[in-house]
């Protein structure tokens, strides 16, 4: 078998207790801190960085009996949609090793798809769990903002990102969500759902969609590859045959989501990544200069091109004179999108779309044109802007390549999207 390069570090971390995940192996994305085990974020900047503490989700995994089998490859600091911006080389898609696995959590999705781990954790800032789940033919859940602790997740864009599970079935993904979800005093943005779930998330994976109403936003079908649309329509017909109703809905705000997302994500990144100055961690450089010159030299050496691009564009968007023009308007778009979702989700139980508008690109195909790469995130970024939960579930294949169906639910409505998706996988 071709080496997938799914893992950056293969090191076993044993459980601390027996629990619901005893006997299961879990791969952990390399931006989630593991005490004593190298955590690189896919960056040369952190090639030797060894965290002195565990992320809350890692503690919870170990307490639940899981064995961590390694740290997975990713786009550098989560900035990419293909796992090709990793400083440690791309991960290959196990379904077709000439293609990308999606990103940024490509290593986690590939490890699960290839059977190198039973389960995996990823992070999702604008689709980084759902995209690789779709491209590798596995299940990925992006939880509601605030359901899962971000303590120990290396920050890229705090207001958008969260940690979530990958698995080969919806029920197994939900089991992992049960373990990692819940309030953490070390992440003040975590909170209890307003209505407490009736049982566990895994209990919701009943496959029963009788009476479920599904809305399909027309904006998220426009521009999608016909082969993708066909597979998604097939999956929706399956759900209809089992008693769900499907109808079109329209959310005008969604056509501004990609632009709003990138302004906000890049702005937050420019601030978050200021911490990488080569003093507390980072590569040693030979710079003879002063403070500013030495920082600039370390950052030139430690950051890859996509990371530099986003830091610079974010710095620009926040600079005097442009803040009102870009950042404030992006926040208006974010509020509008959240409002639109609230409206649509008061009419239907879940919203459905293709997770990705395209089939998995070939390796090297999409790196040259950053804007084109940003645009393929069109269906996933609105969910992060609105802080909602979403799942990507396999919807079949087209030309032998996996297609993902995305189901979006109301805030803390994980049970509903898990129930709906479990009718398919």
């Amino acid at each position: 078998m071709t080496e997938l390069n799914a893992f950056l570090t293969r090191e076993r971390i044993d459980p601390t207790h027996e629990g619901p995940l005893s006997g299961r192996t879990v791969a952990v994305k390399d931006n989630i801190s593991t005490r004593g085990v190298r955590t690189t974020c896919g960056s040369a900047m952190l090639a030797e960085y060894v965290p002195p503490y565990d992320a809350t989700v890692v503690e919870r995994l170990r307490e639940a009996g899981a064995t961590v089998v390694g740290k997975t490859n990713m786009d550098e600091f989560g900035m990419g949609t293909t796992t090709e911006t990793s400083a440690f080389g791309p991960t290959r898609n196990p379904v077709d090793t000439g293609r990308v696995p999606g990103g940024s959590s490509g290593g986690s999705a590939a490890a699960v798809a290839a059977g190198e781990a039973d389960l995996a954790l990823g992070s999702d800032t604008g689709g980084s769990i759902r995209c690789p789940a779709a491209f590798c033919g596995v299940v990925g859940i992006k939880p509601t903002y605030g359901l899962v602790s971000r303590y120990g997740l290396v920050a890229y864009a705090n207001s958008l990102e969260g940690i979530g599970p990958f698995a080969r079935t919806v029920e197994e993904a939900a089991e992992l969500l049960d373990v990692i979800a819940g309030v953490d005093e070390r992440d003040a943005t975590t909170r209890e759902p307003e209505t407490t779930p009736a049982g566990s998330y895994a209990d919701a994976a009943t496959g029963d969609v009788d009476g479920l109403s599904i809305g399909v936003p027309t904006e998220l079908l426009e521009g999608a590859d016909e082969r993708v649309v066909e597979a998604v329509e097939g999956a929706l017909s399956e759900l209809e045959a089992e008693g769900a109703t499907v109808r079109e809905v329209s959310l005008d705000s969604l056509s501004y989501a990609v632009e709003a997302y990138y302004v906000i994500a890049m702005s937050e990144a420019s601030s978050n990544l200021a911490r990488f100055d080569g003093v507390r961690y980072g590569p040693a450089t030979e710079s003879e200069g002063n403070w500013n010159e030495a920082f600039a030299a370390v950052r030139e050496e430690g950051f890859g091109e996509e990371v530099k691009r986003r830091i610079l564009l974010g710095t620009y968007a926040l600079s005097a004179g442009y803040h009102e023009k870009y950042y404030r308007k992006a926040q208006d778009a974010r509020a509008w999108i959240a409002e639109d979702f609230d409206g649509a989700l008061s009419e239907v139980d879940v919203l459905a779309s293709p997770t990705m508008p395209v089939l998995p690109p070939e390796l090297g195909e999409s790196l040259d044109d950053p804007l084109q790469m940003y645009l393929i995130d069109a269906n996933t970024v609105p969910v992060n802007l609105a802080n909602l939960p979403a799942i990507s579930v396999p919807a079949g294949e087209s030309d032998g390549l996996p297609v993902g169906l995305q189901l979006i639910g109301p805030a803390f409505g994980e049970e509903t999207i898990i129930r709906a998706a479990s009718a398919l996988a």
């Binding site: 960085y49 060894v50 040693a284 002063n290 610079l312 968007a317 208006d332 950053p370």
Partner: protein
């Protein structure tokens, strides 16, 4: 950068603000890419002003002394340290 074009000098200025050194080649390439991306961002002008109600609540906890990282743990990843302190470049 507002007339749809971005010069390599402007890219270098922003890079200096962000403390990132760039090669000449990167500055030239980024100038062309930034023009395209910023042009796409212009569409946000069409977004209506929206009433924003942030759901903000204060999250409090008792201010108690707890165990933290040891000196050794905190310094473990630093490229350079001296007498238990991080060692950085000269300030000027």
């Amino acid at each position: 950068m507002n007339d749809g074009s971005v010069s390599p000098e402007e890219v270098r200025h922003v890079a200096a603000l962000a403390r990132v050194s760039l090669t000449e080649e990167e500055a030239v390439r980024f100038a062309a890419q930034f023009a395209e991306v910023l042009d796409a961002f212009e569409r946000l002008d069409e977004v209506p002003d929206t009433e924003r109600e942030p759901e903000l609540v204060n999250v409090m906890r008792a201010d108690e002394v707890r165990e933290g990282l040891s000196h050794e743990e905190a310094l473990r990843n630093a490229p350079d340290s001296e007498d238990g302190y991080f060692r950085g470049p000269p300030v000027s």
